[in-house]
Each structure stands twice: as structure tokens, then as C-alpha cells.
């Protein structure tokens, strides 16, 4: 526990808040939004690992006491992937709305089993 900073603790709490939203939400749109929040929480955790107080961005000619550039390089691609995943999910949802006229988990299950 000693090596965990405040950023990581907040990121874990937000991750599980969005997990709670994912398992309790009745509407599919809210579930998709919860997945987006979850992803940003994971990004925050990754950035928090490589950061300690007083660090500078890893940009410039003299690189002393800078944050870890590796997690930043990893999560930049993750952000772009996140929006495309969100868009694919929502376009699937729109197709579902056209066919079943419903976007709630219960009603969708009931109508698709008929």
C-alpha cells in the first residue's frame, strides 16, 4: 500500500463506480457510457504510475526529473481506440432500436426471445 499514490486510489474508485453503473443500469446507452468512463479510469491509473510530485513533462532538450513517457505513449492509442469502440457500440444500438423499438436490457431480452 505504501507505493500507491492518490491518483491511483481515485482511478480505482472511479473504475469500480463505472463497474457498478455497468451492472445496474437498465438502459443500454448508459452501459456504453460506463464502458467509456472505465477506460478513462484505466488511463488515469497508468498515468499515475509514472508520476510523482514535482515531475515535468518528458518534452524538451534537458530531461531531468520527468514523468515516465512509456505509459503516456501507450495510452494515446487507447484514447483513439476508445472513441471508435464507443461509435461501433452506438451504431449497433441504433440498428437494435430500429428493429426492436427498445433500448432497455429487460425489454430487449423479452422481445428478442419471442
Amino acid at each position: 500500500m505504501s507505493n500507491i499514490g492518490i491518483v491511483e486510489i481515485f482511478a480505482v474508485i472511479v473504475f469500480f463506480i463505472s463497474f457498478y453503473g455497468l451492472i445496474t443500469s437498465k438502459n443500454i446507452i448508459k452501459s456504453i457510457a460506463s464502458i467509456g468512463i472505465m477506460e478513462i479510469a484505466v488511463i488515469m491509473f497508468f498515468l499515475g504510475i509514472g508520476f510523482f510530485d514535482g515531475m515535468k513533462p518528458p518534452i524538451g532538450p534537458n530531461l531531468e526529473n520527468v514523468a515516465d513517457p512509456l505509459p503516456q505513449a501507450l495510452v494515446i492509442t487507447t484514447i483513439i481506440i476508445g472513441i471508435t469502440v464507443c461509435a461501433v457500440n452506438l451504431s449497433m444500438l441504433i440498428t437494435l432500436c430500429r428493429q426492436l423499438k427498445a433500448a432497455d436490457w429487460d425489454i430487449v431480452e423479452k422481445k428478442s426471445s419471442e
Binding site: 472511479v14 499515475g48 509514472g50 518534452i59 495510452v75
Partner: protein, 306 residues
């Protein structure tokens, strides 16, 4: 200082989950994205903060179109069930708290290994070039990440086109719905902003290897430029098939350039100055991202709204 913004971040994420009114989700998501971009900036990651700020524009657009469809297609039923409300919330909350406790109990008590950090920071200026360590890593040491990210974007664009397929040919100028061009304040403001957006996006792409920014952020900003054009004039004369072909060609070019420069070492036997590779790759990645986001935007805004 960062604690205050982290508390804001927590509250805005709680608002998204708790708020019963579904349409408020768009505003809460915008607040959440903005606060998380500020937090990323305070965690000494300006590249990530910029990418998050640009990408949240697209999140908002996609969610707005989805809500429009949702309220026009779905007949919303209000089913009041107040009997099992307490127990229905008690079990998931207990389960979530248990998971948080388990996480903090079993997290390893070892500091994260940073030998890669020292190696990258001391070596990247000779190996790859430029002054931005983040760009040097995702275009140099970890170029596979960028390649497969580009492939992933291509595949998901294909999925969006497949899922929202419309055979009907569209008119070039849609006069049936009046655009924002009829409102003077909005259109005048956008006309002032557009040259600044062009300048800033090209600055980000060309200067990506020596300052914060790069292909991802600049490419998304170029897509924002075309979105502004659509919002003012309501013209969609872009041929989507040609944009997709351009995107595929640029993807092949990215792969070729990466193979020649990283695996075969073309920079040394062509005796190019350092930074040329990063600039070329940033430009190609920017075009790729701009094409992908444009197709996504046109699919959602023009085809899906009809």
C-alpha cells in the same frame, strides 16, 4: 492542487451513473472529459490531455445522434417498481465495495520497475530523434502499437459502415433541414475560428516531434474543420468511398515507411537528417486519423440521422 480536480472527476463520474434523466448524460460526459483532460495535463502528460480534449468532441456528436434516434424510435415506458428498490441497490453496492477491498488487499507491494524509462529517456534522441519522448516511443520503439492502432481504426470504420448501411444516394446539399448557417452569431463565430483551427492543426502535426502534439491530435483537429464546414453550410459533397480508399492507401504507406525506416534503417543509408522520419510519420498518421474520423462523422451525422 491535483486532489481538487480528482475530487471533481470523481463527482462527475458519479453524476453520470446516478442521474436518472437520461438526456443529461451528454452534459455530464462533457464535464467528465474536460476534468479528466485537466487531470492528465497536471500528471505531466500534455499529449494525452490534448488527445482526450479533441476526442471528446466526437464523443458528444456520436451520443447526440444516438439520443436523437433513441427518442424518435423507442416508445419509452415508465414502469414504477418501488418494492424491491432497496435490495436491488444493496447487492451491487456491496459487491462493488468487496471488489475495491479485494483490489487494495492484493495489490503488489513493489514499486513499478522503471528501467525502461531511464533507457528510453537517455537513448531516444540518438536512436529516433526529436525532443518529444512520447512521440519517439510510439513512432519508434513501439511502432507496432501505432500500426495495429491504425488497423483497428480501419476495421472499426468498416464495422460502422456495415452496421449503418443505406443504399440510397444522397443529395449534395440538404435543403430540407436548415443548418446552423441561418443563425448569424454561430456562423460568424465559426467562420472566425476555422482559420485558427487550420493553423493549429498543421502546427501540431509538423511540430509533433519537438513539442507536445503529433499526428493523432492534429488529425482529429483536421476532422473538426470539416465538421465546422458541415455545420455552417450543410453541404456533404465528400465522396465517402474515395475517403475510405485514401485511408487504406495511407495505411499501406504508414506500414511501408515504418518498415523501411525502423527495420531496415533507411535513415542512415539515405543520410537524412533526424526528425524527417518523425515528421513524415506524423503527417501520414494525421491524414489517416482525419479520414477515419471524417467517415465516422459523416456516417453518423448524415446517413444515420435520416
Amino acid at each position: 492542487m491535483i486532489q481538487i480536480f480528482l475530487i471533481f472527476w470523481l463527482i462527475s463520474s458519479l453524476l453520470i451513473i446516478i442521474d436518472k434523466q437520461l438526456i443529461h448524460l451528454i452534459i455530464h460526459l462533457g464535464i467528465f472529459s474536460m476534468v479528466s483532460a485537466v487531470c492528465f495535463f497536471m500528471l505531466a502528460a500534455p499529449d494525452v490531455a490534448m488527445a482526450e480534449a479533441v476526442v471528446s468532441v466526437f464523443t458528444t456528436i456520436v451520443f447526440i445522434v444516438c439520443f436523437e434516434k433513441y427518442y424518435s424510435l423507442v416508445d419509452i415506458l415508465v414502469v414504477p417498481d418501488k418494492k424491491a428498490k432497496f435490495f436491488r441497490h444493496l447487492v451491487p453496492i456491496g459487491f462493488t465495495i468487496l471488489l475495491i477491498a479485494l483490489f487494495f488487499m492484493f495489490i503488489p507491494d513493489v514499486p513499478a520497475s522503471t528501467y525502461l524509462k531511464e533507457m528510453y529517456i537517455s537513448m531516444f534522441q540518438q536512436d529516433i530523434g526529436g525532443e518529444n519522448a512520447v512521440t519517439a516511443i510510439y513512432l519508434g520503439y513501439r511502432v507496432y502499437d501505432t500500426l495495429f492502432e491504425a488497423l483497428m481504426l480501419l476495421v472499426s470504420i468498416a464495422a460502422i459502415i456495415h452496421l449503418s448501411w443505406h443504399e440510397k444516394k444522397l443529395d449534395i446539399v440538404d435543403r430540407t433541414e436548415s443548418g446552423i448557417g441561418n443563425y448569424n452569431i454561430a456562423s460568424a463565430t465559426i467562420r472566425v475560428i476555422v482559420p485558427l483551427i487550420v493553423m493549429f492543426s498543421f502546427y501540431l502535426i509538423v511540430n509533433g516531434h519537438i513539442s507536445a502534439g503529433g499526428g493523432f491530435q492534429g488529425g482529429a483537429l483536421i476532422a473538426v474543420l470539416f465538421i465546422c464546414r458541415y455545420i455552417i453550410y450543410h453541404i456533404h459533397d465528400m465522396n465517402i468511398d474515395r475517403i475510405i480508399i485514401l485511408e487504406k492507401l495511407v495505411f499501406v504507406l504508414i506500414a511501408i515507411v515504418a518498415i523501411y525506416f525502423i527495420f531496415l534503417g533507411a535513415g542512415s543509408w539515405l543520410s537524412l537528417p533526424q526528425g524527417v522520419y518523425l515528421m513524415v510519420m506524423n503527417l501520414l498518421v494525421g491524414i489517416k486519423i482525419a479520414c477515419g474520423f471524417l467517415v465516422m462523422f459523416y456516417r453518423f451525422m448524415v446517413y444515420e440521422r435520416r
